[in-house]
Symmetry: C2
Subunit: 444 residues, 2 copies
């Protein structure tokens, strides 16, 4: 587990950790492709105004140049805003609904404490439509994410729980209670996890009144793994707070409830356990308009949500056309900080064999063996110096290169330094044991 | 070929172009691994002072935050400076010689003209030693790069020429001529390509005098594909300018010549044609101390060097220890701007099949087919809407998804929309034609 970096908040991994990171990124990507998501990469910067409009101004890194001062550019803090720009710029050429994935670093100038990173990888999928976005995408995206997270279990990622809520459900209930500032209420309920009930009640009362605060907290208590039971619990809640309707507000609530149920049903049907409807999930961002999602590791809930997102109706739009979407994002670096305690690289060097050098005069012979092996796709390195064989083998051992190749006029030999097994070998035919293809070991 | 981006100088590719970029990056990475290079990734920023010390101040992007102003951080402009820091920070844990590769974006605030990018990918390999760096690494690194560039020929990269020179050769000759400011002379000779002989002679005369300028230009004329002929040509040159030695200066020149010859011999021995010794190669950076390299595409010399580097003796050091290295860097984005005219993606979506939907009520059936296909590793998407079959097929066609799956109670069928071939199929057993695995087409 890395505890310090030379540049505060900007994590950097050892070569061994990088192998784990690389594998995690590859697994995520493979899974995204399986669901037909198309890869794009956007540049690292956006116009400073657009960043300031959507993000937390204090956290945005702006670019400046010696001589010419501040530029109208800043580093992107997520991959949703870049997607919005990309879609609008290329709306004439993209095929809608546009299913895209994007795995890139993002930057946030947060105070680097409590494991918060200032630079980290996000892995996003979104489906963006032109005009209407069918509701079934609200379960397709979390379904793809459940599959993706599950594909990481061979790397040590344990069970997770995906929590589903719907903005319409919360908003309908809040409005039925007579709460005016729904957005602010959501923002405060979002803090329940961090602040606890007592403190949250206090800040809720400021916007929702005493009765409103209590009712909001009551709604936030609803957590259901059985989609069929949500309706009953909401009915009881409405009865208790005397907002049974029917009214425009309760209609909105029931629409949201139905959508959340559909997502949960679909996940259950696909065999993903550990999904639930959780009416406490609010999400900080104000652009969500339908289902919202957060995901927690069962053995490390304190990490916070490792995969979140939701549906947005109006984030991407022109005066004439709207492009509603639904997307989720994995916080890869946060997830890694957990995985590093589980998975470690078995091999540091990609080389399978170290070709020894008998003397510097005969280095050409070793180079030739390496050339033949590489031509056959076998990764190797030639010993850096014609030192004593023991020292050459020690390098292979320290780099966890499993084989050492001995070049000699009497015939080549190759030794498995883990088993001690030594055999005659011809570089044109020799194959390493397939067991050395696996380069990551997971602690049980 | 992309001609404009919304953010000037920051290129962004279409989904189709991104497929080509991704493939290029993968090929490069595979080749680096074959040579036993270990992957690391460094963060995107460095301390602003260290960037200003080594780079062109006008081009460095500094970070600033609203409220707290300019930070002591800037975006890295290459991957060598980050490597130097990484090696020094981890010198206690790394195994030396440290063979590392690194493929990341870098940023340079150049004026975005003439195809210059402000954000682009570099792919670097370096071998860094502790104490002494054996000379054979000066050919291992260009050898690995020749192999890497050659591995891109299936993507349309044509023949290239690697030009080799050695700083000691130039410096020895310059000093023998009595030139004092060797660094400045090198910097000016480096401009020969851009400025032409006339103008270069003029700026050379300011530092090297009339005779010196003429002799420098004479040296720069030497281009040799046969390593055995270099000695003779240098001898003639020294005789012409009356600096035959032997002296400390000519010794240095001959040492450099021997090293450059050894690199060329090794490349020739390994079957790479199109390498040459080119005494005009100087490289702008002042930290090089031995062999230097530049690489040009034969069909697009105007692109400039696509792969450059050299040996550096003192770039990485502590007061007690030096870490000499040799490295080269591929300018991937520049290379891509050329490849886009050669290679194009045959497939836009990674999905091999589009599962159609008969009616929204029956979407679950289509979801189930998709689930089974994905479980078997077959990428697919479910039709976004239960529109007319023609419209569903049109989506597959526009996304170049080769198969359309028809879900029906009477039995499933799958149609290859390129051949028109339609067959009964079971999602638990069906396999797509392997020909659809290739997703990039190269123009002949």
């Amino acid at each position: 587990m890395p505890t310090s970096y030379s540049i505060s908040g900007f994590p950097e991994w050892s070569p061994e950790q990088r192998i784990v990171e690389k594998r995690v990124l590859e697994k995520i990507e493979d899974s995204f492709r399986l669901y037909g998501f198309i890869n794009i990469e956007t540049c690292g910067v956006e116009s400073y105004e657009s960043l300031m409009k959507k993000g937390d101004g204090k956290e945005i890194y702006r670019l400046a140049k010696a001589g010419s001062g501040e530029e109208n550019l800043g580093l992107h803090f997520d991959l949703t805003l870049p997607l919005a720009r990309y879609v609008l710029e290329r709306r004439g050429e993209l095929v809608f609904p546009f299913r895209r994935f994007q795995i890139q670093k993002v930057w946030r100038g947060e105070r680097p404490q409590g494991g918060r990173y200032r630079e980290f990888y996000q892995a996003d999928i979104d489906i963006v439509s032109q005009g209407e976005l069918p509701k079934h995408f609200e379960y397709e995206v979390p379904l793809a994410m459940c599959h993706t997270l599950k594909s990481l279990s061979p790397l040590g990622l344990g069970n997770f729980t995906m929590h589903i809520n719907n903005r319409k459900l919360s908003e309908g209930f809040y409005r039925a209670l007579g709460i005016k500032d729904v957005e602010e209420t959501l923002r405060r309920i979002d803090k329940l996890d961090k602040l606890g009930v007592q403190k949250t009640r206090q800040i809720l009362e400021e916007v929702a009144g005493e009765r409103g605060a209590e009712a909001c907290l009551d709604l936030a208590q609803i957590k259901e793994t059985d989609p069929r039971r949500l309706g009953e619990r909401l009915k009881d809640l409405c009865k208790k707070w005397n907002v049974e309707g029917p009214s425009e507000e309760t209609d909105l609530m029931w629409e949201g409830a139905k959508d959340a149920e559909a997502v949960l049903s679909s996940l259950v049907r696909s065999g993903f356990e550990g999904a639930c409807i959780d009416c406490a999930i609010a999400r900080g961002l104000d652009y969500y308009t339908g289902c919202v999602y957060e995901t927690f590791l069962q053995e490390a809930p304190s990490l916070g949500s490792i995969c979140s997102g939701g549906r947005y109706e109006n984030l991407i739009s022109t005066p004439k056309q709207k492009y509603p979407g639904v997307g989720m994002s994995i916080g890869v670096s946060r997830l890694l900080s957990h995985l590093f305690s589980k998975a470690r690289a078995d091999r540091v060097s990609p080389a399978v064999a170290l070709v020894t050098v008998w003397s510097e005069e005969e280095r050409e012979k070793s180079d030739e063996v390496a050339r033949i092996l590489r031509e056959r796709g076998i990764a190797c390195e030639v010993s850096p110096s014609a030192s004593k064989l023991g020292a050459q083998i020690k390098r292979a051992d320290r780099l966890s290169i499993p084989y050492v190749w001995f070049v000699s006029d009497e015939g080549e030999e190759v030794k498995d330094i883990r088993t001690g097994d030594q055999k005659k070998a011809d570089p044109a035919f020799w194959e390493p044991d397939p067991k050395y293809a696996a380069d990551i070991i997971v602690r049980e």
